[in-house]
């Protein structure tokens, strides 16, 4: 099967590794243009018509999410986004596995009809290895309705979670802003930094600079204690590098238990105070 890998700086070697697993005839290109959705859509469309691949592979980055669905639609296809595995059968292309219902289920997705087909791979799902040749592609002509300004960061972060040895992180399970002190007490007992999943920061219960996940900070502390966090992939990518992961959640099927080393299934409003008491007792 012929595979076209579209490589950007982010996830580059993972995309190449996945492409090589998907097919033996791999061509890899980076697009030699400043990014806008329109510019990349037409550039990669031109490239696909030139290379004529059966499968086009991307990293599931914010950039890919911005233009690849539009590109696939030009070929009458749906992008199979955020795939975590591929299962090979007798015939090409493979069956792709992706998460649905916020990671509660996996789905086997079968492609129908002739190529080109489009898939993007989840960060961390393929091991980066080697660095095969990546060619640069410059399209013949480019027009873009979007005009992009240079990327920027908001005011410097007040909290650097990446330096913390222990992090206590809180999610939707905390239910109300008034309950935040419950986890604050645990953070204090452990000498830990307090962090949160996205919804908690969105709601303004904790400041944005305490957010862990794809749009927040990526941390790898010695201990990460996830309290009332179900474990959506956007959160997991920000913390699965922690040495020891502890999950406290009332739902035994929560995806967070998949990456945890230790877990307590139970009501956080009972478990967390018990933990605080235990830590004080044995100090």
């Amino acid at each position: 099967m012929s595979v076209l890998a579209i490589v950007e700086q982010r996830m580059a070697s993972e995309v190449l590794a996945a492409a090589q697993q998907f097919g033996s005839d791999v061509k890899a290109y980076s697009i030699d243009l400043p990014y806008t959705a329109d510019a990349y859509t037409s550039a990669v469309e031109e490239l696909i018509r030139k290379v004529n691949p059966t499968l086009v592979v991307f990293g599931h980055t914010y950039q890919t999410r911005d233009y690849a669905p539009r590109l696939a639609a030009r070929f009458g296809r749906t992008l199979i986004g955020d795939v975590i595995a591929a299962r090979f059968e007798k015939k090409d292309p493979p069956v792709f596995v992706r998460q649905m219902f916020q990671g509660k289920f996996n789905a086997d997705v079968r492609l129908v009809g002739d190529g080109p087909h489009f898939v993007s791979i989840q960060a961390g799902a393929w091991r980066a290895d080697g660095s095969p040749q990546v060619e640069k592609f410059s399209p013949a002509s480019v027009t873009s309705r979007q005009v992009a300004e240079p990327p920027f960061r908001e005011a410097a972060r007040a909290v650097d979670l990446t330096a913390a040895d222990i992090i206590v992180s809180v999610g939707r399970g905390i239910k109300e802003k008034e309950n935040i002190p419950v986890v604050e007490a645990l953070a204090q007992a452990l000498g830990a930094e307090l962090a949160a999943s996205r919804p908690i920061c969105d709601a303004g219960w904790l400041p944005m600079d305490r957010q862990v996940g794809s749009s927040g900070q990526t941390v790898s502390p010695k201990v990460y204690i996830a309290v009332g966090i179900s474990g959506a992939i956007q959160h997991l990518v920000g913390m699965k590098g922690a040495k020891t992961i502890v999950a406290i959640n009332k739902d035994p099927d929560a995806p967070i238990f998949e990456v945890a080393h230790y877990g307590i299934v139970g009501d956080l409003f009972e478990v967390v105070p018990a933990l605080v008491e235990e830590l004080k007792k044995t100090k």
């Binding site: 999410r65 669905p69 539009r70 030009r74 916020q102 086997d108 129908v112 919804p199 877990g263 933990l275």
Partner: protein, 253 residues
Amino acid sequence: MKIAVAIKQVPLRDSPLRLNAAGTWIDEDTLSFEINEPDAYALEEALQLREKHGGEVIVISVGPARVSQTIREALAKGADRGIHIESSSIDTFGIANLLATALRPESPDLILTGLQSDDLGYGQTGVVLAQLLGLPSSTIIMQVEIQPGKVRVKRELEDGWFQHIEMPLPAVLTIQSGLNKLRYATLMGIKKAKTKEIKVISLDGAAEVAPPSAVIEKLYAPEKNKQAQIFEGDPRTAAAKLVEKLRFEARVL
């Protein structure tokens, strides 16, 4: 200005989900449903833009009969009218096609939708819709500023980075959760919603959309990771065991 908001109805957050007998989808019989969370933020943004610039907010949704309830709730929050395309399709491309067909005669100035759904999570419907309507789009938007003939948006990038993008109107934007504060429906709003129009477009199965280019063959619970040691029992015993393990096995405390 005329703003269309594409919303989706999904299972109520934290619903216990079970697979159907064929293992191809979830069993929907016992479930309650609500608006997809990012779509609720898209609706809120549309309502705020209308308050600032005047005009009309239309909510549009593709789904079975039950979806009318979610449309009615959006009307109660302040949307002016609704369009319900009755279809049980879950194919992104097919759904975007249905939305495009219904929105073309409306020619809205701006189309908003959530960045992704809590069920399928493809995060593409808005972008594909933009392609089908021939409109520019931008995704994962944190801020929308309407200027004469164009829109300036703040787009979220990874790791706390952002970018401003400008594009001409009409345009399609996919909205990130948390960019504004959601309002509740007022009693007056709920009362008013009863008299607002919901146009129902029924599609009788056959030839409603092109055949999907991908199908869900099987849906299943992910394989359990055996490495996690789970402590059960009463909270105090579990807490004591956990602290002991962190001290003497993981040696991290």
